[in-house]
């Protein structure tokens, strides 16, 4: 533990200062302390963290991990193909987009896993629907109201009282977190929990009853209000004073990951973080804007991983990217690409086994529309994450016939 880390004890101390506001130590605080004191996340067997990164809009996987040695690639994309000599080569068939040098370094250091050709049967090419499929882990002919992490929270985290079990950065809660009970806090930034000065906090603490009133709705609100107060300031203070060990780009995505790193370091009792990078829906003139996004992704991810590693937190953090679909092999008439099917996923940290997982997609063997035919079902990646990383029975959370992807974790 480095000197400037606040960590759980510091977090607790700050939560404890709330006691000064009450006339007596309210019982909510004792409860909150119990929540925060128990190592590592009360009610969970370990302190592992999952960071989900959504590449919204459908990332062009074929210009991300470029099959530069495949003629079909160059022939299908006369205007959009990345030149072979520019590709950051991984092997004699494929390599990363030239702007992804930071991620290439991560690969060279053995910190990056790439799952290739991930999708699902009967792919849907609507953003709305395919996002829903990825978020709920449903089949494409099936509609589920709950998200895969929401079901994980409902099934495996019932004994965990943390009000911050999931944290989503953004404006809308992703369906990934939809469950029976809301266990996820959605915020654009941690100042959500700031309530002005001590006096304001003191008044708020005062109107939150510590004794049950018999009105179940009121008691529920009062309890949740106590959670808010316990989380209040402690989070934003922890985040403000928590140093990081790396320099992040000033853009939204990287800065959000910086806050996530701070929160992980401050041992905020959160199991799953969710961050989005948007703008991947490139139907036209995609070369430049896609390159910029890939650079943002690559820099953000690589800095985040390096930061966590520097703070000794990478062992307990798994980062995983996903996107609702990849894009069609053939470019369209507008120097862009249309909605496709199979795609790749990046994973880093945790106990993930670095390197390639799964077969590369065949560019010769396309479906009727001209899209890649997936070979790995994304739900088998989720199943691996659930069983190997979060250590729960994936069959309680997803269709039982889904098998974990073998060898994803070492």
């Amino acid at each position: 533990m480095t000197a400037n880390r606040i960590g759980r004890r510091g977090f607790l101390r700050q939560a404890g200062t709330l006691a000064a506001f009450g006339l007596t130590v309210p019982s909510f605080l004792q409860q909150s302390r119990a929540i925060l004191n128990a190592a590592p996340i009360a009610g969970l067997p370990d302190d592992r963290v999952l960071v989900l990164i959504q590449l919204a809009g459908g990332n062009d996987g074929l210009n991300t991990l470029v099959p530069y040695a495949d003629d079909l690639y160059h022939r299908s994309r006369p205007k959009l193909a990345i030149k072979s000599e520019d590709v950051l080569r991984i092997d004699d068939y494929s390599g990363l987009h030239p702007e992804m040098y930071a991620l290439k370094d991560l690969w060279d250091q053995g910190e990056l896993a790439i799952v290739q050709n991930v999708g699902y049967p009967n792919p849907d090419r609507s953003h709305f629907r395919s996002t829903e499929i990825w978020e709920t882990a449903s089949g494409s002919q099936q509609s589920l109201a709950t998200g895969w992490i929401g079901r994980y929270f409902d099934n495996a985290c019932e004994g965990c009282p943390s009000p911050l079990l999931g944290i989503q950065f953004g404006e809308r809660t992703a369906q990934t977190f939809a469950g029976e009970k809301p266990r996820c806090v959605t915020m654009s930034n941690p100042e959500l929990f700031g309530f002005g000065g001590d006096q304001a906090l003191s008044s708020l603490a005062r109107i939150h009853a510590s004794q049950p009133t018999g009105n179940s709705a009121f008691d529920f609100l009062s309890r949740t209000g106590n959670d808010v107060l316990a989380a209040s300031r402690s989070i934003s203070d922890a985040v403000k004073s928590q140093q990081t060990t790396a320099t992040y780009l000033p853009f939204h995505f990287s800065q959000t990951l910086r806050v996530v790193a701070q929160m992980i370091a401050a041992e905020v009792p959160t199991r799953v973080y969710y961050v989005s990078l948007t703008g991947f829906d490139h139907h036209a003139t995609q070369l430049k804007s896609h390159a910029t996004l890939l650079q943002d992704l690559s820099e953000g991810l690589a800095t985040f991983v390096a930061d966590l590693k520097g703070m000794g937190l990478l062992d307990r953090t798994l980062v995983m990217t996903f996107s609702e679909f990849g894009r069609r092999l053939a470019e369209n008439q507008s120097e862009g690409t249309d909605h496709g099917t199979a795609n790749l996923m990046f994973l880093s940290g945790g106990a993930v086994k670095p390197g390639f997982h799964g077969e590369r997609p065949s560019l010769a063997n396309l479906d009727q529309v001209g899209d890649l035919v997936h070979s790995i079902d994304f739900r088998s990646v989720y199943a691996s994450v659930l069983s190997s990383w979060l250590r729960v029975d994936h069959r309680q959370i997803m269709a039982p016939e889904i098998r974990p992807l073998a060898g994803l974790f070492g």
């Binding site: 040098y101 404006e171 009970k181 309530f195 005062r206 009121f218 000033p250 800065q255 806050v259 650079q295």
Partner: protein, 539 residues
């Protein structure tokens, strides 16, 4: 109909009734209802809700609607891109305006029950702009739901089944006889009319066949250009209108069986068989009972409501009459424990505090953050409501309501991190050039790093006008506020803002706040505390 007992009708009952059937209790309304019996009060409420004038449509609504991104075989991709881009932009502006239009109606209407019921149907027959995309279709659906809000359910069900937004949302417009799409048929039974377990997969399939062939087309008499369409083009770009019509070529006219009826069943038969299905009456009654937060321990209200529905051939108002006049509605277990939806919370505050409100994008962002963005329900089930409105994040955001309505500010925590420089720009690969670019981004400060800047970037900054434009004036709320002693001021504000009884702890805290502030600051400080209380979340 048998008269309900009216003996225990008290002023608190009036507050309870008006609180649940409106957005917030309005003192002038209480005076109108207090002198009436319970039955007469409910009658007045229902009559006014049925007779309220219809608000004028937003100005961008066009009759007939035309598809401004219609794609033909000979449309050049350049022209298509232009039309598509412009249409997308217009749809998103119109959707924002549609939200403004409805919220303004809710804030201004003297007859809130009709809007409350429209909100109920919006969640019941849920469709999302996220999939529908066509703003005018969402308006049309809302207008229909308002028209039938206290009308006849069978008629509403028919309208909703071939409602353009619904047909797009649940894929009915893509359903044809050869391979009927079951999406709508399933939700019709499960979510709209009967409830899970009241029908079989066979019923769904037969219904899907009966409803096959309905499509959206042009108004009769509209001349369509003689241009060919590529059959691969997606529906969005080939629709020529929003008028439901049965295309006989795509309809399965064979014999079907549903709920004991056999024959060439079609839309009207499916609607009638469903609305008159024995499960429909109690399913609807149950949803209304839950929506209005009534405790019905032995299902007696539900049974009476269902009977009223059946006796009147699917009328909605008689069900509401039973509900609002029932003793259960006024029982202790039905009171003070309904969690306000975000829309009711916000609209209620606007009405109670007599705010001057402009509905801006920031208001929508706030409601969306609280979990209820209008015209964008989370899924076809609508908003589950109740305790699901509340988590640590959404409650924290609710506790910032005072920032929005008193200070005209977006609450903290709404700004994306890195705003202003949120969108990435390409960076040179060369390390020195890269450093220079980053330095420039940081405003040329030497040694500035992303990290130091991060904190500053979390601060609010509003490009393009204020996100919230709300004016609160204590003098409008209480003209004699300055002369009121603390006790009296607190009592008046609590009674004006809370429908539920005042908890001593809240009163003590409010009094303490009153002593901490003087002059103009006193009223806002007390109001702020009440808005940030668990009590204020309840009605």
């Amino acid at each position: 109909m048998e008269k309900q007992p009216t003996g225990r009708w008290t002023p608190d009952d009036v507050r309870h009734l008006l609180g649940r059937t409106g957005f917030a209790v309005d003192e002038s309304q209480i005076a109108r209802f207090e002198g009436l019996s319970r039955d007469d009060a409910v009658e007045l409420l229902l009559r006014e809700a049925r007779q309220a004038p219809v608000p004028a449509a937003p100005e961008w609504v066009k009759e007939p609607w035309s598809n401004t991104e219609r794609r033909y075989k000979d449309t050049t991709s350049e022209e298509f891109r232009r039309m598509h881009g412009m249409t997308n932009g217009r749809y998103s502006r119109e959707t924002a305006d549609l939200r403004r239009w409805w919220l303004e109606e809710m804030i201004a209407t003297p007859v809130p029950l009709r809007e409350i019921m429209t909100l109920f149907w919006h969640g019941h027959f849920a469709s999302s702009i996220g999939k529908v995309l066509v703003s005018q279709a969402m308006f049309q659906q809302n207008a229909t739901q308002r028209q039938f809000a206290l009308g006849n359910f069978r008629e509403l069900l028919r309208e909703m089944t071939v409602d353009p937004a619904m047909m797009i949302y649940l894929d009915l417009e893509d359903s044809e006889g050869q391979q009927p799409n079951e999406n709508y048929a399933r939700e019709l039974f499960e979510l709209f009319a009967l409830g899970h377990g009241q029908y079989s997969q066979q019923d769904i399939q037969e219904t899907a066949r009966a409803l096959s062939g309905w499509q959206l087309g042009p108004e009769p008499g509209v001349e369509l250009p003689q241009r060919e369409t590529d059959p691969e083009t997606s529906r969005r770009f080939t629709r020529d209108g929003l008028v439901p019509q049965l295309n006989a070529d795509r309809h399965d006219s064979g014999s079907k069986q549903l709920f004991g009826a056999t024959g060439n069943l079609g839309l009207d038969e499916v609607v009638a068989l469903t609305a008159h299905h024995p499960a429909c009456a109690s399913f609807l009654a149950g949803k209304l009972i839950a929506f209005f937060g009534v405790d019905d321990p032995n299902q007696s209200v539900k049974k009476r409501m269902a009977a009223a529905y059946r006796d009147t051939h699917c009328e909605i108002t008689p069900m509401l009459r039973v509900l609002f006049t029932s003793d259960e509605f006024y029982s202790p277990n039905s009171r003070e424990r309904l969690i306000k939806s975000p829309v009711v919370l916000f609209v209620g505050a606007c009405r109670q505090l007599q705010l001057e409100v402009e509905i801006t994008s920031g208001v929508n962002r706030y409601l969306s953050g609280l979990g209820q963005e209008l015209f964008n329900p989370p899924n076809v089930k609508g908003w589950p409501g109740g305790e699901t409105w509340i988590g640590a994040g959404t409650l924290a955001l609710r506790y910032h309501l005072a920032d929005v309505v008193l200070n005209s500010q977006e609450p903290p925590g709404m700004d994306p991190i890195g705003r202003g420089r949120g969108r990435p720009i390409p960076l040179p690969k060369d390390p020195a050039a890269r450093q220079a670019t980053l330095r420039n981004l940081m405003g040329g400060r030497p040694g500035g790093s992303g990290n130091e800047e991060g904190g500053a970037m979390m601060r609010r900054g509003q490009p393009g006008g204020p996100a919230i434009q709300i004016r609160f004036e204590a003098a409008r709320l209480l003209p004699d506020a300055d002369s009121l002693p603390n006790e009296e001021l607190v009592t008046r504000l609590l009674s004006r803002m809370l429908t539920i009884s005042v908890r001593p702890e809240l009163r003590t805290a409010a009094l303490e706040v009153a002593t901490q502030y003087t002059g103009n600051a006193r009223v806002p400080a007390i109001v702020r505390l009440i808005l940030s209380s668990p009590d204020y979340q309840l009605v």
